[in-house]
Each structure stands twice: as C-alpha cells, then as structure tokens.
C-alpha cells in the first residue's frame, strides 16, 4: 500500500497528491512516469511524475478527473492509500546545456513540465516557459513555474487571465520577437502538442513531446502504447515517453487514444488536460 501523504485540489477536478513510495522517489527523474492502481478492481493508470522528494520518499502526481478511473482516484483523501504504485518508468528527459529552451505546457501538462524546466534551468539553460489553460480557474503552479523558469509567459484561451490566446500564439510571438530557441519541449493534450509541432516545423526548431498513451504494464510487455515515430513502431513506455515531435504520427496517436472511448471515456483519462473535452481548447 502506498499512502497519500498530502492532497491539494489545484483547480476544479484537478488534484495534486504526494504519495509515499521511497523506492520510486529514490530513482525518479524528470520526464519519467509512474503507474498507479487504486484497488483490487482498479486498472493501471499511467501518470507523468510532477515532482519528487528523495528525502521524504514521496512522488507528486497531478491529474484531472476525466474518465472513470481518474474520478475514482480523485475521491481519495489525505491518509488514504493506493494499492499499487510502480515506477519510475520510461526514459528520463535528456537534460543538457542547450542554450535557450522553451517549455510549453498545456492544461495539466504544466505538472510534468515543471521538473523538466527546473532541471533545464539548473543545467544552465535560459528557460522560457509558456503555460496555457482554458481559463483562469484552471491555471495552477504559476509560482512554481516562475521559480523553475528564467521567464514565464501565461495565456488563457478565453482571456480571463493575463492574455487571450493559445500557447501556440504565444510561442509564435516569442520566436518572431526573440529568434529561434535551441529546443522546444511541449507537454499537454495531443492536439496541443500537434499544434506546437506544426509551428516549430515551420521554423525548423527541434521539439520534444511527451506522450501519455494507453498502457497496461508500462514495461514493454503489452505493446498497447505503440506509436509510429519516423515511420517505425516504438513503445511509449520503454522507448519514450519523450519523442522528437517532428517524427511522431499524431493522427495515428489521436485515433489510438480514442480506442476505449465508448468504454468509460477511457481516452479522456489519458489525455486529461482539465479542459474536460479531450483537448478541444488547445486545438
């Protein structure tokens, strides 16, 4: 059993849990993910690591209640436990001194972006973070992101906070004004990552994206998380979750993400961005 040592509700139906899992915390690195299973009947839910505390032995996860299982997870409270918690899974982010790195976070994507931004900054990069959400209510971790970045740009789809526009609008303006960064990294709903990649393709900027595919075991055993990258089939769980966004077949990923849509809105769970609509807000 793995205890939830703290619970915060960051926005409507978006929760932050700190979970006691010392073995996972000891090895966790930015960019990796964990799989959580709530109880004996539960499915295995993959979630990207939002933070970790090696001393306290905890892992932070942030998730939006989207499908059946994330709603069930959201009903737990501080002091409750989840039955299974496994990780760290996947390959950590490649952090190096690149120069200027633009981190783009859409919706709940801000959570996995945070530890990568922090490491990028620690590695000596100029980190420009762009975070966007549908409206003001859904913005969270702004202070943490400010601390992890050299510069933070915030946007809302409806203009209810800071400015109106999609993250791609901000990205384009930034590139036009400041020139090409060495690297762009985008995490959020698939349509948002696809939109970011379409922009950076125009400017020929290397772009990494983090995929959150449907998975079962997360160890390379089932092949549910297949993705076509540069014409080759790869497994998100062991080859990813980060891939060169310019090589990813997003159309195929979008179709695959809808596989269990009729069963319990499964696809929404995997693309959770807090917009409640499978990323429609960031298209």
């Amino acid at each position: 059993m793995y205890k939830i040592v703290s619970k915060k509700t960051l926005a409507p139906a978006i929760h932050e849990y700190e979970i006691l899992a010392p073995r996972v915390a000891k090895k966790a690195q930015a960019g990796q993910f964990i799989i959580v299973r709530i109880d004996e009947q539960g499915e295995r839910i993959p979630l990207t690591i939002a933070d970790f505390n090696r001393e306290a032995g905890t892992i932070t996860i942030v998730f939006a209640e989207a499908g059946y299982s994330t709603k069930k997870l959201g009903r737990l409270n501080e002091g409750d436990s989840v039955l299974d918690f496994v990780g760290p899974l996947g390959v950590p982010s490649h952090v190096d001194k690149f120069g200027t790195v633009v981190m783009v976070a859409g919706g709940v994507g801000v959570a996995p972006v945070f530890p990568i931004a922090r490491e990028m900054k620690d590695a000596g990069n100029q980190v420009v973070s762009i975070m966007g959400a549908r409206n003001k209510e859904l913005i969270f971790w702004e202070e943490k992101m400010k601390a992890a970045s050299s510069e933070l740009l915030v946007t809302t789809d409806d203009g209810s906070y800071v400015r109106k526009g999609f993250v791609t609008d901000v990205l384009r303006e930034y590139i036009e004004a400041q020139g090409k960064p060495a690297l762009v990294m985008a995490i959020g709903p698939l349509p948002m990552m696809r939109a970011v990649v379409n922009v950076t393709k125009e400017y020929e900027i290397k772009t990494m994206v983090s995929l959150n595919s449907i998975m079962v075991d997360g160890t390379g055993m089932c092949g549910a998380c297949r993705v076509t990258v540069g014409g080759e089939t790869r497994f998100v769980c062991v080859d990813g979750p980060e891939f060169d966004g310019h090589q990813v077949d997003f159309e195929e990923q979008l179709m695959r993400s809808r596989k269990y849509k009729s069963e319990e809105q499964h696809a929404l769970t995997k693309e959770s961005c807090g917009c409640g609509g499978g990323g429609k807000c960031h298209g």
Binding site: K26, R44, S69, V216, D217, T219, C222, M255, R256
Partner: protein, 468 residues
C-alpha cells in the same frame, strides 16, 4: 503372469464444450480419489523409470504413483515436492505428451499412464493442507530473484530449502509471471497459482511486487548496496513480436500479451465491475499456432466473439500448440485457417481495423527447422472481415534489466547468455528460463530455475560461512 493393463487412461471429466465456451471456469475438472487410485494401478513401477528421465525437473514418478495407488496422498505429495514446487500448476500446463508420458513403457502399446493428471490430483489434494514449513537453519546468504514466473519460483523454492534468504522482485502488481498474466483462468485457475505462491512464502521467501529491477535499482545495486550475495534472473520472454505489416497500429490489433494480460491479470472479462476494458468485437482472428494463440482464441470466444479464427501459415501437423489445447479449441468452435498468411491489415478512416488481407500458402521444401517451408500461392489473396486481430507469433526478452547491466553478456536477440547450470558472464549472477532460451514451456523454465538454484547454492557454500 504379468498384470493385465487397462489400455486407456482413466478419462478426466471436462465441462461441456458448449457451456465452457461461455465461461472462464476451468475446462478440465480433475480426478476423484477413486479415479486417481485406479489410474495409479496402471503404472508398472519400472525399475528403470524412463518417465523420470523425460521430466525436466526429474520428479520421482513411479514412487509418487505408488503412494497414490495406496491412497497415501500426503506421501505422494512429499515425493513430488522434493523436486517440483508447483505440482498443481505443472499437472495442468506441462506438455506431458512430449515429456514423462512420451517415455512411459505402458504407452508403447497402449495409452501411457496419465502422469500429468495424477500429478494434478496430488497437487490439488495437498495445496490447501500445507502447514507452516519447518524452519531451516539460515546460511545468512541473501539471494535476489528477478522475476516471479516459473523459473524464479522454482529457483526460490530450492534456495529457501537450503536455508538461504530469498527475495523475489516482480515488476507487476501480482507475483506469478506468465502463470498470472498469460495462461487463462480456464486452463490454470489463478487461485491455484496464488496458493502455491503462498506456500513458498511460508518457506520464508519474500516477494516484492511493483519492483522493476533496472528501474528502481540496477542489478549492481542489488549486489552491492542492497547486500545480495547472488542473483537469479528469470525475467522471461515479455516483449511481443509483431509482424511489421501495413496497418498494424489500427485500433483492434492486439499483441497476445496485451489481450491476455487485460483478460487474465486485469480481469477485463468482468468489466465494468473491474475497471480495465477490452475490445473483442464479433469477428476475431488470432495469428499463430502455439499455446498462446490457442489461449487467445479461446479467451476471445469466452469474451463473446461470434467467430474466432486461428490463422496459421503451416498445416495442422505443424501446429506447435499442445494437441489437447488444439482439440479443446476445436470443440469450443474455434475455426482454423491453415496454410494462410496475413499480408496487411485493413482499416477505416477512424483508425479501426475492419479486415485482414491474407494469402494462401502451400508447403515446399524443408527449412532450417526441419519443417516444410510454407510458400505463398500466387494470386490467392483474400480478405477476412474482422473487428479484432490478436498477434501471437512469439515474444522476445525484455531489455530493461540487461540494458542497465553492461557487463552481462547477451546474444543478438537480447537473450541472456547462460550455461546449463545457469551461470552468466557476471560473477554471482545466474539466469534461466525464457530470458535465456527464448519462449518455451513452464516446466523447462522451472528446470532451469532448479539448475541455477543448485549452482547458486554451490557458489555460496564455496565462500564458506557468511561473514556478518
């Protein structure tokens, strides 16, 4: 005068095929005490038991059968347990027709003694009766076992019996490996696997689930920081092979691993009471002809598919699956498309599979495996309309552990290189089962686990008493 041998095995009762094709309960129902004792009468108790030589773990077969004949089932169990930690499992899933029963003298002119059915009977008889095992004097040595499938379980049992402290690391949330995620409930009830594992725990074996070695700790860290004196790697064949055909990523194309894991380990067959879903559709094809393919096809039937096909590129004679499994599948209504090879997947605009294009094959000259090589017949393609395809053409080793252990030698396919005693290129590290041989059988993996346990014991004892 030699005793008169009853020519046929005592039949084992089975669930009616029409009924069982709709449920996940066990197909074969097992012998009663009376039937088991009657079957035991058929054994000639040969002085030189060839059957034992056919057993990868060398069970003393005539000796245990003699106890069954007398009704001394506890003694029969003791005999089996000397060399086989999991009789209730092996009695169900061993390919006895290629092992013990193949060498049975009775089988020369008649049906062999039903050794597998008797082993299953004894395994089931004893499974709930095992009390606390007497504590063995501890050697103080700690052994890590990576992977809790058949190889690891067999290795753990032998090492614990020798007084070594054994910790098993399992990547999934439930121990048992392929016995839990792969082999379906109707062939091997999960309760039996878990009870056998509980019995191992009674022997003092510790099992850490949700623990992926290579991710939470490297093998080197286990052997240094975590203080293990030796390790056994039984990580199995977990990486699914695909055919690399056009359209393989359409929704509806599953690996057998995923299809079976969803159904067995995650209990998708009881969705929505259990949270994990599975797609089955009306028409399902399973690609391949091994036991895994039979398991997937029979699972699809039970999940409600109306038509289930096995698509196999060779003929019935070459099917690698156990004959009993093939017969069971046929009885339940699985249709076999022999000499048929898939060429591409067909799907719709929403990314869903709608069919499989296949080509007819004929058998040509023998290939490297000695079997006649299937060759395509020109202009014989046809389209099979389908909702789901399950790819069951084999599995390779999982690289998570080996890629973080650079000094562990692997071959071209990624299998760990180990000798017959389980010794690898790394000191104190032994390996066995599918990760070494490629996908094989439960009992061969158990045999390899036992061989490695013997090597590990010798390796540790040679070091002298453990220094604290």
């Amino acid at each position: 005068m030699a005793k008169k041998i009853i020519p046929n095995k005592n039949p084992m009762p089975h669930q009616d095929p029409k009924v069982r094709a709709k449920n996940f309960d066990e197909v074969a129902l097992g012998y009663s005490k009376e039937t088991a004792m009657a079957e035991a009468e058929r054994c000639l108790n040969c002085k030189k038991p060839f059957c034992k030589e056919g057993c990868p773990v060398s069970v003393d077969i005539p000796e245990f059968i003699a106890h069954v004949r007398e009704g001394n089932f506890d003694d029969a169990a003791k005999v089996i347990k000397r060399t086989n930690a999991l009789p209730a499992v092996c009695g169900r899933v061993c390919p006895q027709e290629h092992q013990c029963e193949k060498f049975c003298i009775v089988g020369k002119k008649n049906e062999p003694v039903a050794i597998g059915r008797l082993e299953r009977f004894v395994g089931d008889y004893i499974i709930d009766k095992e009390a606390q095992v007497e504590a063995v004097e501890s050697t103080g040595y700690k052994v890590a076992i990576v992977g809790s499938g058949p190889a690891g379980l067999a290795c753990a049992a032998d090492l614990a019996r020798q007084g070594h402290s054994v910790t098993m690391f399992e990547a999934l949330h439930t121990p048992g490996g392929v016995l839990m995620y792969g082999i379906p409930e109707f062939r091997l009830p999960k309760k039996i696997v878990q009870t056998e594992i509980q019995n191992l725990k009674k022997m003092g074996v510790t099992i850490e689930t949700n623990a992926i070695i290579g991710q939470i700790a490297s093998l080197d860290e286990l052997l240094t920081e975590e203080g293990f004196d030796a390790a056994f790697l039984g990580t199995g064949a977990g990486t699914p092979y695909f055919m690399n055909l056009q359209g393989e990523n359409f929704n509806g194309v599953y690996s057998a691993n995923e299809f079976l894991t969803r159904s067995n380990l995650m209990k998708a067959y009881c969705f929505p009471q259990c949270d994990t879903p599975i797609k089955v559709g009306k028409k399902v094809a399973v690609l391949g002809g091994g036991n895994v393919a039979m398991d997937a096809a029979r699972t699809a039937l039970r999940l409600g598919a109306e038509e289930v096909y096995i698509v196999y590129r060779r003929s019935r004679a070459e099917l690698p699956a156990r004959l009993e499994e093939v017969e069971h599948a046929e009885e339940e209504g699985v249709k076999f498309l022999f000499l048929t090879n898939p060429t591409r997947y067909i799907g719709n605009e929403e990314g869903w599979l709608t069919g499989l294009e296949c080509i007819k094959m004929e058998l040509g000259e023998p290939d490297a495996s000695g079997r006649r090589k299937p060759v395509p017949i020109p202009d014989s393609t046809f389209i099979l309309p389908l909702d789901v395809v399950v790819v069951a053409i084999g599995q390779g080793p999982n690289p998570l552990l080996t890629k973080t252990t650079p000094d562990l030698e692997t071959n071209k396919r990624g299998n760990i290189v180990a000798d017959e005693a389980g010794k690898t290129s790394k000191e104190g590290v032994y390996a066995g089962g599918d990760v070494v041989t490629g996908a094989a059988t439960v009992i061969k993996a158990m045999g390899a686990g036992r061989a490695a346990a013997k090597s590990i014991h010798e390796y540790l004892i040679a070091k002298g008493p453990k220094k604290q």
